[in-house]
Amino acid sequence: MNSLLRRPLLHFWLIGFLIFVVERGYFAPEAVLEVAYPNADQIAALASQWQQARGREASAAGLARMIQQAIDQSILLSEALRLGFHYQDSIVQQRLIRDMRFMQDDSAASDVELLEQAYAMSLHVNDLVVRRRLVQMMESYLRASGENQPLTDKVLRALYLEQIETFTQPERLSFSHAFVSQDRHRGKSLERAQQLVKHFEEDELSPEVGVSKGDPFISGYRFSKVTQQQIEREFGAGFGERIFDCQVGQWGGPIRSVYGWHAVWLSERLPAEPMSYESVKSKLVYEYRSQTGNRSFENAMATLRAQYQITGAPK
């Protein structure tokens, strides 16, 4: 027996067998993960939803993006189910219980029993709201590792310097205006406004005097340090652009607003300037968390995509 045990051939077979067992038992690929490519009806539904939301047909590239998103969502749903999120989330559970009560209106079963039945019937895979909820939970889960990374002032300051060009206080104006009301002067409002500008220029009227020659304006006559966006919010689209073309210390216009015509006097033009670190810090924190979360999600998603086979995809 001892001599048998010492035979090299036996050693060879034994070692080979062990390698075989270990390799098959521990290092074999897991069961193949797969999700289905959307079928024709599902693709048509995606296109239809897009059209409902936007009011026009999706382009070919847009449709391809939506198909990829649908596949990604199927992967996320599959992963959420693999991790058992549907057993943990109270919103999912309550929705399933509600679905079961709809179907068995007179049932005396307890919530726990109904929930077990729902799982057995795979209702958690079929219910639209549950599916959306599970996908959303999985997205949050994948983002969380990035979003929760520790954040220091040094990191934020570096981010601030990196993006300083985007943190700009836009150009601002201070101005006065004399208003010619469309409601009051109707067809003659433009003519009246042109006369006012001419009169103000020729007589070199100060803004205080000029303003008093116009009609009452509900938001007042002087605006201080306002951006183009703020001006357009008050006077309507296009006004902001026109007034920025005017010169400081001169009468300009008339410029049309939704309310009528305006002779304008620019008293100050403040150039665009970088915003201070302190003033944008909260935004930086949000952006950082958002970026790291996105990165974490994209990396995890890329790994998952590589692990899944897409069945039924067009050749």
Binding site: D89, S90, Q94, R95, R98, D105, L128, D183, I218
Partner: protein
Amino acid sequence: MRIVKTKNNGKRIVVAIALIGGLVTLQSCSDALDAVRTKATQTYVLWKFGSELLEMPADILTAHPERNAKRSAYFGDLHVHTTYSFDAFAFGTMASPYDAYRYAKGETIKHPAGFDLKLREPLDFYAVTDHAMFLGALPAAADTSTEFSKYDFNQGLHNFNAPEKLNTDTVQERFSLFRGFLPGILTGIVDGTVDIDKLNEIVVDAWADTINAAELFNDPGTFTTFVAYEYTSSTADMGNLHRNVIFKGADKLPAMPFSRFHSQDPEGLWNWMDELRSEGIESFAIPHNSNGSNGQMFKLEDWADDPMDENYTAKRIRNEPLIEITQIKGTSETHPSLSDSDEWANFEIAPYRVATTLNSEPKGSYAREALLNGLNFQDQNKTNPYKFGFIGSSDTHVAATSDDESNYFSKVGLMDSNAMLRGSIPASEEELATRRNNNNAQNRIKEVDGKEYISGAIETFGASGIAGVWAEANTRDAIYDAFRRKETFATSGPRMKIRLFAGYGFDNEMLNDEDVIEKAYATGVAMGSDILASPQIEGKSEAPGFLLWATQDARSAPLQRLQIIKGWVVDGKHHEQIYDVACADGGKVDSTTHRCPDNGAKVSISDCSISEDLGAPELKTAWTDPDFNSEHQAFYYARVMENPTCRWSTWDAVRAGVAPRSDLHATIQERAWSSPIWFRPKREGE
């Protein structure tokens, strides 16, 4: 930010603030008096050495010249839920109070269904108002990493956390769901296994985070936030009694918000607010969705159904100077059955008790009727509990105001996140299949013109509303003061501006005066105030003049008509009258019918385009009540109407390429309401 933990500390701080405030006031007064003294001395010297008597100058010196005395319009939303609200969480909302404020400032955030949300225009002020009860508790219970989630009683809370059942009014249902939770937690507290302080810590932590977000984003002069929350009470028959509580400052605040678990009777809330006020913490409450109160919000009795006494009425109006007249779950100005002479009364009526499809009784549920009832109190020389001003807000549960008809995303997250779920386009076979074969679900499907739609309360929701104020500056103090003096207005979404003044000697000539607003403030009263009867000449008082001025939202439709809504009482009997007072397109008001001619503005239902070159960018007038009687208590408020535009449900249908649902209004007339001005007759002894 400091959170008050004990009463004594609070009192010490109040005393300190009072002393410092007193010193500052004394110093300011002293400066002003010095200035007056100097001027007076100079005059005296001239008089003494001159040969003739000099006139005393009429100049008045003020220590603090008022800044922006004409006041500017600011727009905001005072009713916003985030992930800390148990129902918003259940609807899938993950957006935090921080996200809510970012959205209000014009940034993009995510809807629970994944799409982007961005305002057309940033707002000027915003208040996150999460439900006080279970503030932050659901995220904590659902998060299995928290200590709180480990308690056995959280099994009951898990079951409680349902998208449809978890609403603020399902009182009976909630208590039945809590049958396991409540005994479990109470037993745990008694035997020491559950620490109540730890439980409260969740609410306190969420509240502290809510305050922190408000403080972080408050930017005086640019963007204002208010620390706020929702007190969510209701009657046993699911009559809605919800209020939002808005705090003036954030330096000193209660450690946790007062919820319906502290008192289901709103008077308990007012008592708490009064107590805080005595400690220097100023706040007020805004009732909302009176339309869904089943006649309970503006009834004439107190919680115990006893007649309101003076203590109750004074307490109520002291704590509730404003109401939310419009929001997503309907508009509460008036109801067609209460105001049959108002052709515009049928506007975004949501007829159900909140979070149900049970009909809500109109009587006692709408603002105009409450204003009329309030006049009865005044007529009897009692405090008027319903002397309130108006604001609008959204009640969004996704942290984001949804007030744009053309880009509406409603309020309950995943549950109404697309046109089909909102019931504005026919439901898909897949959605119908999940609902068709059960009794309850059939209530949620409605056949209209041979097509099946998801139905319930959601299709009666509206893309509304906005709170407007006239304030000196965009700061907490200035805007809060505007709330308190009721110089506020509501809009159904667009940023229309509306002003209303009353005074004697107002005429149309004033309207062309550059200083019209200064004069109106100097010689009259603004919205939210009383106008007192003028001295009598030959036994009669002069009718006050009203100055009305409204302008369109530069990015919305032009205006069609400007109106006065008058309510008055004679021998306890209610009367109301709608007067058109200014018409677009040169129209003249018919003096018999008090109506403008139809300006002919139309909407194309096929693409939602509107008539061009019709309507007015601004409407204004000086108006005197042709039916004025100086003996009658009366209120007057202004309402301005846009030209018709597509309702959100029509926009949904147009985008989907289907016909709009015929049982819903295809078009609406967006509008703004000023707060009222009350006329007070002169009484004996006044």
